[in-house]
Symmetry: C2
Subunit: 482 residues, 2 copies
């Protein structure tokens, strides 16, 4: 479907206008389109393919940790939301309501789910009877809707795709352990598959999930220095158990409330991938998650075409056999130079060029998307070299993102400094906080930054509250955020 | 979560009450639960796992035939439905409407999608410009909602999961070929993975999809002799192209309407699987689709337990290595006899028993779920024998279902005969039809049977209309249907 004229236009540079760069990039790379429904996007095949890769890798990890998938109804009766007060308050303004079916009014309004704690809580109250039914470890892949005032493709859309894990346990300790385990699973996935370094920590009370006892998050730095919450894991204590009367008969013959958790990752992770790794030439997809890892481009004059195509078929078969995700672009009506630009823009990690002179010398040319480095490799060593190269690129992309984040993270001891870091230096500020909501609100008001989380392992302890100067209770990451 | 007491109750026999047998079976096998939302079920892990297997096998086939996945919005603006008159008429009574978000009324009502022809038609009108953009071959995995008056778990629920393929082509021939190709894909999947023999044919005009030019279906016979439509493929001509102005610039420099198709298979296929193969002992899952193909049950007295478990670990590893989906149930608090019953009820194709005397003789016992046949196999030959056995079971299940259908299918030449076949003999009737809607309606009124399809290859041609006696235009399958 590519037409040569589409891709010669430039992408706005990141330094000129990061937001425009983002929209230019995802549009040109054909990842999405706007839909006629406000705040909803269409995930086009190249964008959806990234989500399929995310699903594959996360789903494998969920199953390895003993979780099973299930599917619960899209609609949630209004009365269910009323059962957990903080929960209904948190979600109410964003809820789409089904009030009619065909020509008939419904007796009770049905919300389109923004998350499924209430529905799943109700079902768990039916399913859990005894300690033998615990732990109950279930995940759901689903669409959810939260009507957003300001939307941004992938990052914040009214409808999005996600997974939501919901587990029930006999003790608070076990539930807290599950909450932390799933944060570990997210960390492993995001750092090792997506090459995105993350900051792990606990949300402040004002930023936690409506209805949670504690929310843990992983936060990543985008290339404009803003933060993106990439995944959350909630310890819900017995709050939903009490709201939905989820009780079990314990070994000691007493009926007790269960302790529950929930945890989610959404299609916004695709936005993070783009904003962490992309550059002025377009996307950069880390090899482990890339639907296509190697793009092969046969080159040379028409008279050598047959010979080059035959050789490229061989190389293709050999790479595919080795489990490398490879594609060949042998379209005749497009120049090699145009194709080079196109696949750089689409972020394919490695380009493989094969021409008649390469064949004479029994070699091929490999070009890295991340550094632009070119190397010549003997055909006999090609598979092995590409495998190593993909591993190197995966690590380099992580290292580069980590160096960027380190460079843009600063300890601060005053609101002025914090303002300077998040506004002028486009970075994260590490600051002390006394624990008062008012001080957190003051930071937000004066700098636009929100608390990201209270890190498990802060690079240093900050001793005084950045807002009031009193002794700090926590060391906190502050940043402007998506 | 299994408790010994749950599984000793009997399942209602099929001959006593097929409907109760169905509900008993899916409930005991823990496949689903009713939800608090009318007509919506919860897909519990064992039920959802069957859907995951269906998705895996269908998705592979869609990709092999050049389709890519995408995702479109859940909500469809009311005005979109108005654009195709038959379409809106067909779906209107079943549509849930979102009329409010938070506390605000929406200006235009949004339907929760019952299918996505209209939304996708609109997007295609944006994406398709030239013949180079064709064919456009997209599939979507999604939830859809059609508010049903009478529901039955899996078979007919208000919300269900499905895939919907939507393609656009330059010519009617190409679109018709796609329509037929996808019917072939469904046939291959249902017959070879699910061991369900199907009848392929064209729907009569009164039974076709609202807005289609032609609908093709695959129909299967359940064990109560009723029909279930297992998949449909629609040729939409240029009707949606005209409704949504989807045009392309052809090679001859003229702007032309595209020709579109759509095709879908839903979670009701799980219901078909159960009703075709299940028996009075519970489910029977064909090996190729079974999440667990072999259940290993270590047996023998406590003192030999350690030795048997060590050996069963070895066998497990060896089978898993060979790609066989195997599980071990080594729970100590449940008797082997109870486990045998449980896994028969759950429909696991092969049971593997391993005890101390088997180990002495270097052998194991295999039991087929479908026939109950037992055989003793040398441990050294076990993997190979199981692989062959799984293939045999897959084929036997198909053969048995085909024999059942053949036995319950009869040519008829009068309404009395037709009535007798569908009501008393619980089967399908092959009958002539003149082509008049009135005659089709008369059959339905007098016998409760609907036309299933006009088969591509009827076992024989029926020369006169079963209702009016005039010369027949088509030979048609009639049956009572789910």
């Amino acid at each position: 479907m590519a037409k040569e004229k589409d891709f010669v236009k430039d992408i706005t540079s990141q330094s000129e206008d990061f937001s425009r760069w983002y929209i230019d990039t995802i549009t040109k790379a054909d990842l999405m389109d706007y839909s006629p429904v406000r705040g909803c996007i269409v995930f086009k095949p190249d964008g959806y393919e990234l989500w399929e890769a995310v699903v594959r890798e996360l789903d494998r990890r969920f199953k390895e940790t003993g979780h099973r998938n299930a599917y619960f109804p899209l609609f949630i009766p209004e009365s269910f939301f009323e059962k957990e007060k903080e929960h209904v308050k948190g979600f109410n303004p964003e809820l789409p309501w089904v009030t009619e079916v065909g020509d008939e009014k419904l007796e009770e309004r049905l919300a389109v789910r923004p998350t499924s704690e209430t529905m799943i809580g109700y079902m768990y109250s039916q399913w859990i009877q005894s300690y033998r039914d615990l732990p109950l470890l279930i995940n759901q892949w689903a669409n959810v809707v939260r009507w957003e005032k300001r939307t941004l493709p992938f990052i914040r859309t009214s409808e999005f795709l996600w997974q939501e894990g919901h587990t029930a346990h006999a003790t608070p300790e076990e539930a807290e352990q599950e909450t932390r385990q799933m944060l570990d699973v997210y960390t492993d996935f995001v750092e090792n598959e997506l090459s995105i370094p993350i900051l792990r920590g606990k949300k402040t009370p004002s930023e936690k999930f409506p209805g949670a006892v504690a929310t843990y998050s992983i936060e990543a730095m985008m290339k404009d220095g803003k933060a993106l919450q990439a995944g959350t894991s909630h310890y819900l204590g017995d709050k939903f158990a009490r709201a939905f009367d989820i009780k079990f008969l314990d070994r000691d013959n007493e009926r007790k409330f269960v302790y529950t958790t929930s945890w989610g990752m959404t299609t916004r992770i695709i936005g993070a991938l783009i904003m962490v790794h992309g550059d002025d030439r377009g996307l950069q997809i880390p090899p482990r998650i890339a639907p296509t890892q190697v793009i092969m481009i046969p080159i040379g004059p028409a008279k050598t075409r047959e010979r080059v195509l035959a050789a490229s078929d061989d190389v293709f078969a050999q790479l595919k056999q080795a489990g490398i995700r490879v594609r060949v672009d042998d379209r005749e009506d497009l120049s090699p130079g145009w194709k080079f630009n196109e696949y750089e823009m689409r972020g394919i990690p490695v380009r493989l060029e094969l021409g008649p002179r390469d064949l004479d010398a029994e070699q091929a040319v490999l070009v890295r998307r991340d550094t632009g480095e070119k190397e010549t490799v003997a055909l006999s060593a090609l598979t092995e070299r590409i495998q190593t190269l993909l591993t190197e690129i995966q690590q380099s992309m992580f290292d580069r993102a980590l160096a960027f984040r380190t460079e843009h993270s600063h300890p601060v001891t005053s609101l002025d400094q914090l303002h300077d870091v998040v506004r002028n230096q486009h970075g994260f500020a590490l600051a002390g906080w006394c624990g008062e909501d008012a001080c957190e609100a003051k930071v937000k008001e004066e700098t636009g930054a929100t608390s990201r989380n209270i890190p498990f392992d802060p690079p240093q302890q900050m001793t005084h509250c950045v807002a009031c100067g009193k002794e700090s209770a926590h060391t906190v990451w502050f940043a402007r955020a998506y």
